[in-house]
Symmetry: C2
Subunit: 304 residues, 2 copies
């Protein structure tokens, strides 16, 4: 039996697993990622985890998901914010030398999107657009089972797409552009706006959905604005790649029933008539990071 070694490296924890070609996790270890201790400590920890797996010798390749834009050709993180010292560090080369297997890596949103496209809610579709609507907003374009990562791994950095150039600047908070959708329609943007306009004690998007449901006009106004901003984002994406399906995950989508109908109505208003019936479905995998890391290997073995 041939397996893949899948690594899901986050800012808090790292998981290393053996995954079958069918996408089943057959062996798995989880440890703290030790993100602040620098790349050699973090990677030696991962290598130690891998070497403790019984099926390591049956693995054909290593797939890995990491936070931040990833240069998939060079095998490094282009700009690391959650993993200390990782910007430009040759992660793929380091693992390849010590574990003697080919290494394929991409950023965590792309990896999760690939998992959903190949094994999850997008299965069976040629062009899948995966979108995370969470604290931030990210995405992944998957075409025929392969992620489109782009020149320096910035494909899918859709949180920076400008949906209205006449908004306030949040340059003091992050490096996104004025009117970038993540600063206007993400979970954290909704909470920021609700604190200002509704109640300083609000800490989650869920509270805003609840207030709107109870008839609070200001909360409803926030939802109206957010769903239109999301519609603008979705229409831009759709005119670039006309996906067979949009798969959406992330914390905010737990309240999908409370905003998707309005968001999809805005999307439909803003696209060509034939595009109105593009399906929107919720992400469905419990461990997209691990499954997707394995799917990276499978995609690369298919070649171009």
């Amino acid at each position: 039996m041939k397996y893949y070694l899948a690594i899901d490296l986050g800012g808090t924890n790292v998981r290393v697993a053996v995954v079958s070609p069918q996408g089943d996790v057959v062996e798995e270890i989880k440890r703290p990622s030790r993100a602040s201790e620098g790349p050699t400590i973090v990677l030696d920890n991962i290598i130690d985890m891998a070497q403790s797996l019984k099926l390591l010798s049956d693995c054909l390749a290593i797939g890995m998901g990491l936070p931040g834009p990833v240069d998939t050709k060079k095998g490094c993180i282009t700009l690391s914010t959650n993993l200390n010292g990782f910007t430009g560090f040759p992660v793929a080369a380091y693992l390849k030398e010590r574990l003697n297997l080919p290494v394929y890596m991409d950023n965590d949103a792309n990896v999760a999107g690939l998992a959903e496209a190949v094994f999850g809610a997008g299965k069976g579709n040629d062009v899948v657009y995966y979108l995370t609507h969470s604290t931030g907003i990210g995405g992944a374009l998957v075409v025929n089972g392969k992620v489109v990562s782009g020149r320096k791994g910035y494909a899918g950095e859709i949180g920076n797409i400008i949906i209205d150039r006449d908004r306030a600047s949040y340059a003091h908070i992050n490096n996104l552009k004025v009117g970038a959708v993540e600063n206007e329609a993400s979970g954290s943007a909704m909470v920021r706006k609700a604190k200002q306009e509704l109640d300083d004690s609000i800490v989650s998007a869920g509270e805003i959905f609840k207030l709107a449901e109870e008839g609070n006009d200001k909360a409803q106004h926030l939802l109206d604005e957010m769903t239109l901003d999301m519609g603008m984002l979705l229409q831009a994406i759709a005119h670039v790649c006309d996906p067979d399906i949009f798969v959406m995950g992330g914390g905010v989508t737990k309240s999908k029933d409370k905003y998707w109908p309005q968001m999809i109505a805005h999307y439909s208003d803003l696209v060509h008539d034939d595009m109105r019936d593009t399906p929107f479905v919720q992400a469905e995998l419990a461990e997209p990071g691990i499954i997707g890391a394995a799917a990276l290997c499978m995609a690369m073995e298919k070649g171009n």
Copy 2:
């Protein structure tokens, strides 16, 4: 020797050619397309042209470019405006039955983009974004030598991307949305604005570039607005697919020296720092429609 039969069907003329795997046109015929006479007349004319080519029997497959969004799976035009009666007509099946060869078709912008990506200015790059800046604005996403057409062929219909939702409606002119970039920054949009704001006798974008160069403030203002609108479009595209290169063609790009520097400066202002050096180059092929139609066959033979 193995060849491809390439068909470039436009509203005025149709060209049918035999193309080598290296992209060389070895035999070619051109005739009026008879676009108003309905699909069977138009296609029988094409079949007659094909059968008069000496090398037809050496052709492995048929590639075809047509105007309008194309459903590449069904092999038909989704919405035909230039070819009478073609909406939904089974073009691929019709040609396949009579010429007994597999048929691959896509819309003309996608086909031209593929040609530039494989044989032209984008050659050697994994992810190429091709954009036509002309009377209208269209595009094509080419990944590893294959066009991403999408669910119903609307990938690349970027003229409908909204770059500013606070613009005037042109619902009486076309079916694009309010603030769609084609209604704000295309050659025809520039002329429309110049007629209103400058001089009713203006008929081409070239005149506006000339007036701006001569120091006309209103003409310069139009260019400032157009280049920012184009920058907004380019930033949306780049955050979706992070192309290795933007290839731009179309009539307006004949004046590239007069607006690209400003357009690229706006693009650079609106993207993540690492994306600022994305290269922009001009399209270079004389016959992208024919070469691209052949390239469709080559792409499909590579499989998924």
